[in-house]
């Protein structure tokens, strides 16, 4: 088990290293000189241009060799100093990120876990049961084929605009100030529901179909046949099939996380929901590169932590990782 965890930790550390390096490297690889771009907006005499250029280079820390800029960036990342936002000065990038984070987490954690759990149950129930299979399967394929942005348009149109059930934009009513009052919390929940529903729906079908296929495969397996031959009831056989089938599903979830967490940007922009994705949008439209870089790091960290949690779950679900990983690698 220790071997398994150590390997995983090395992967995470390297992924973090690569993430930070990419985040630092992209602006440096891109054509154009940012200070030149900044100064080109003004008409300046050549001497004042040179003086301004020098002072900007110094304040952005661009007047030192590249390797030192890189080390400075790391220092900033490790001390949590990602600079000051251009869009909302004098707010620090980290402050803005931490303000937005609770919204994103409140959206993603329930949506991911619920769709995973329910989708798997649904798929397992549908496997090799004619009536259920004939409804779950086609619906699953349709849900899997729906482009998410469209779901984020049609669901609020129906539930919000046509039937007036839920608000379609914002994180809470614009007339309210954040507080721990009941009116505010109910407004939060009201605004939370539609974005949650769309994220939940869009991944439900995939999990159901994946689980259905895996359970069918497991039910045809020799181990299941043996279990039946021993006289075990169909329920017991299915329970074992489900446990076996949930392993590839779990590693699938780990593979999905980067996409889901990143894809959340679409949700938050479509619903004008004040989380990290929305913050990214503000950063792009206001050309706030520091904020953009900061959010990128935080999203990479979030993906890594979520992966680690799944690893721990995997350890508890699959007895083989606990036993065999101590010995020879599989």
């Amino acid at each position: 088990m220790r071997r398994y965890l150590v390997r995983k930790l090395i992967t995470y550390l390297l992924a973090f290293f690569v993430g930070v390096t990419i985040d630092w490297g992209i602006p440096h690889l891109m054509p154009g000189d940012p200070i030149q771009g900044l100064l080109s907006k003004f008409t300046l005499s050549s001497s004042s241009y040179a003086a301004l250029y020098k002072s900007f280079a110094q304040s952005f820390g661009l007047n030192v060799p590249l390797w030192q800029q890189y080390l400075d960036f790391w220092k900033g990342v490790l001390t949590g100093d990602m600079g000051i936002s251009i869009w909302a000065p004098p707010a620090k990038v980290t402050t803005l990120v931490f303000q937005a984070m609770p919204y994103t987490l409140a959206l993603l954690i329930p949506a991911i876990t619920l769709s995973y759990v329910l989708g798997n149950r649904l798929g397992a129930a549908a496997a090799r049961r004619k009536v259920l299979d004939n409804t779950v399967l086609p619906l699953g394929y349709i849900f899997q084929a729906i482009p998410y942005p469209w779901l984020a348009l049609v669901v609020p149109y129906l539930l919000g605009v046509v039937w007036h059930l839920f608000p379609i934009s914002g994180g809470y009513a614009e007339t309210l100030l954040p507080s721990w009052s009941w009116t505010f919390i109910s407004s939060l929940l009201d605004h939370w529901f539609l974005p949650f529903l769309t994220v939940f729906l869009v991944s439900l079908g995939g999990w159901a179909i994946g689980m259905r296929n895996l359970v069918i495969y497991e039910l045809e397996n020799d181990s299941s046949r043996y279990l039946r031959a021993l006289g075990a009831s169909e329920g017991v056989v299915r329970r074992y099939a489900y446990r076996n089938a949930s392993l590839p599903q779990l590693s699938g979830l780990a593979l999905q996380l980067g996409v889901v967490i990143g894809g959340n940007i679409v949700t938050e922009i479509a619903f004008n929901y004040p989380g990290l994705g929305h913050l990214i949008y503000q950063a792009i439209t206001n050309q706030d590169y520091f904020l953009l870089q900061g959010i990128f790091i935080f999203i990479v960290i979030a993906v890594l932590i979520a992966n680690f949690v799944i690893d721990l779950v995997y350890l508890s679900v699959d007895p083989r990782t606990r036993l065999s990983m101590q010995g020879a690698p599989a």
Binding site: T11, Y12, L14, A15, V18, I22, I26, P27, M30, G32, Y141, Q144, A145, I146, P147, Y148, P149, W150, L151, L153, V154, Y157, V161, V162, G205, G206, W207, A208, I209, G210, N213, L214, Y217, E220, L247, P248, Q249, S251, G252, A254, L255, Q256, G258, V259, I261, G262, I265, V266, I280, I284, Q287, Y289, L292, Q293, I295, F296, I299, V300, L304, N307
Partner: protein, 319 residues
Amino acid sequence: MSEPVSGTPQTPDLVETLEPLAGLPGGAIGIAGGAGAGRKGSDFIHYGLRNKKLVFGLGVEILFVLFAIFGPMFAKYSVTDFTGTSLASPGSKFWLGTDNLGRDLYALLSNGLRESYLVGALGALCASVVGMALGFVAGWRGGIVDEALQLFTNIIVMIPSLVLLIVIGSYLPNKSVLFEGVFIGLTTWPWVARAVRAQTFSLRSREFVDLARLSGKRPVSIILKDIAPNMASYLFLVIILLFGSSMLIAASYDFLGQGPSNVVSLGTVMNQAQTNAALQYHQWWWFVPPGVLLTAMVAALLVANVGLDEVFNPKLREQ
């Protein structure tokens, strides 16, 4: 001539390969057996024509492809025509209505369909080439090469691609369709690589591969002529799924305005509808059709894919 693998029991490796598809959560791949090389092609045609899912899915898809090729020719207006009638609802003059700038939505959508197929094909091509190459090498070589490639794959998986695209996009405002397709391909290959690696791993210790090795064949030719044909059906399904997921991913990118510049696509139509409050003004003809089209295109692919899976893999056929 290599031995068919279809008769042999499936190894646990195969289960591990059922990774879900980026963009299509949960994995649409059924259990593709190692059916293939030895079986006669006519057998597949026999079962293929009798498989309703395959015939239906493929039929619908062909219709869409034909529409993507010929549809724009029937458009009465071009995508850059500002007809002066903005926000017209569907009728005889404008079959699918117009948007806020007075552009004909039929023209926009039929051209957008082309864009979707183009990006889908590019993404699938890139992802399958990279994924297969790395998967074959890792599975064939094993040892330290395998460890390194797996580490690389696991790292790529954890870099959030959409955020990466946005960061790149903020410095690179003008992007082409080629860029979008290649970017999608270069960020979705990891699950292909994992799956191909696991299958190569289980195939490389079979007798017929040993035989090929003993006869002095070069590794590249063993991989291409002995190993790849044995998972040909699986690879084919993978490419189809990549094609569908690339189209969906492109729609999200375009919806966020991160797609190719100055190109009409289904995603950009939805984006414009959203930013111009089409929801609030009940302009359903603006945002409903692009999504319905894309859903139907991808769903038809998925259904055809299941059909194919059943044709290739006898275990999955209806009982």
